[in-house]
Amino acid sequence: MSAVPSPATPARPSAVLRLFEAAKGAPGPTLAAIVGILLAAFAFIVPLFAPDPFNLASTSVMDAFTPPMWMADGSKVFPLGTDDQGRNMLTALAFGLRTSLIVGLASVAIGLLVGGALGLTAGFAGGWVDSLIMRVADVQLAYPALLLAMIIDGAARSALGQQRDVKTAIAIVIISIGVAFWVQYARTIRSSVLVERDQDYVAAARVTGRSALGIVVLHILPNVMAPVLVIATINLGVAIITEATLSFLGIGIPLTQPSLGTLIRNGNNFLQSGEWWIAVWPCALLIAFVVSVNVLGDHLRDVFNPRLRGRS
């Protein structure tokens, strides 16, 4: 954990070399990291230049169902083919992955915020507040992220009615996935707080009139960084799969907005009639990204804390 250089010091000349050494020791995770970064770059850079394929003005139904370019009837304009609306699959993938990534990252952030706050509260307050929060956490474990997200989504539909705009729909998906994640962060942070709470320096801070909370947060931060990073990486994979599943089931992101899930949902309609590429590309992209995130997460877990193995 001390391997993270502090931002104040200039990068040591050996940093690149050390990165290279680390990569040589773990070729799998290194490959996963490279694939993950390339895909993320693809998702965030392509939409800056390419026209939005989900803007009807930029597509032509005349191009619909063009197969990938190496097949008969393929076109170099659409390397991976087009879908039923004549959208370029290649750019649609970039837009879709971008939405999925934003949803995934945002829901991990929400889980971290909610879990961090509840974990700090539970650890600091102790007593019945602690018991209540931790019992709720226990009960919630019966409901995995996917199921919980479905239920929250249903509740949100009831509360808001069926007419929602795309932004609200995305926000609901982010919240319903994010809320499912809070338990792990809360547990990790609570146990760290419990360790630090009774240390002498906290008592000293109290005596000198400084905020004990602030002091403890400052002290547990380095302790919880590593496990939180591990949990967050693994959760990112879960979040992206959950988003894709919800959208595939038609209860996540609406079909008018591209995400990996909506692309697969759309493509699934044409699997039977032979236009396989509409479903296969987003499936492959989803798998490639999730697998690389998971490989990376497992590696981080082993590196930071072998005791975490088998959990989560």
Partner: protein
Amino acid sequence: MLAYASGRLVQTVLVLVIISFIGFLLVSNLGDPLASLLTADSTAADRAAMIKALHLDEPITTRFLSFFGGLLQGDFGISYRSHEPVAKLIAERLPATVELALASLFITLLVAVPAGVHCGVHPRSALAKAIMFGSIAGVTLPNFVVGIALIGIFSVKLGWLPSFGRGQVVDLGFWRTGLLTASGLKAIILPAIALSTFQVALVIRLIRTQLMEVGLSDHVRFARARGLTDNRIWYVYALRNTLLPVVTMLGLQLGNIIAFSVVTENVFAWPGLGSLFLQSIQAADMPVISIYLILIGAMFMVINLFVELSYPLIDPRVLRRKA
């Protein structure tokens, strides 16, 4: 043991009451039951009668008590979408889901136990490495992608198996089964495989890790020193020792398995509880959603209670530790 069991029982009941309360809050606060249940041409008298029938004029505690009392008597409320009793909807859909779950459990045991034992006994063999690679795919691949792939290969490409529905069902009076007809059996194969992939992968990995540990134990070495056959040692002497963690883990994964059943039922248009749940979400049919939530909680708690109470049967040492 009795004190321990009753303690766990009280805990379980308490949690179930809390889950029911959350379910109740969802129904009572979200959506408008009157607007959902009354038709456009209903009169003020109809409205008043409906308020009375739904006890909307009573305080919240009374309403929860009557809601909870209803739950215990099998009165699950009325669906906003179909205007039918929720209990009836669930009873209609239950057989399909139970049969799918049993079929996938059957596949899990049939595939995962021998595969897990092989990987635990010969962790370095080529087959074990292939199985472990496949199991990584099994835990990481999204469930619906597995379903789509199965349909793409076995229905579209090869045309061997149907991709949707239950096939022909036979009504036994209390139960409508698809397991007695050829088309029903063919129809259950793909969804059962799709639903079992996650469990299969999980059980293989669990058995493997556990067996590798047990394989190094003194009692397995002593069993070998007595000349017992390899099959007997691994499948009886070692496997028995891995059951406890495997059963525990499966119990805790029940939530995931239920969630995946929703996805699988959707992919294969399987007319079970999961499909009902999904349709209810899309229609914001709160009574069905909250009952489903309560049922899942109840199932999770009860099954895990049984798992824990069965520990002494699996491992005789547990009783002594608890006592």
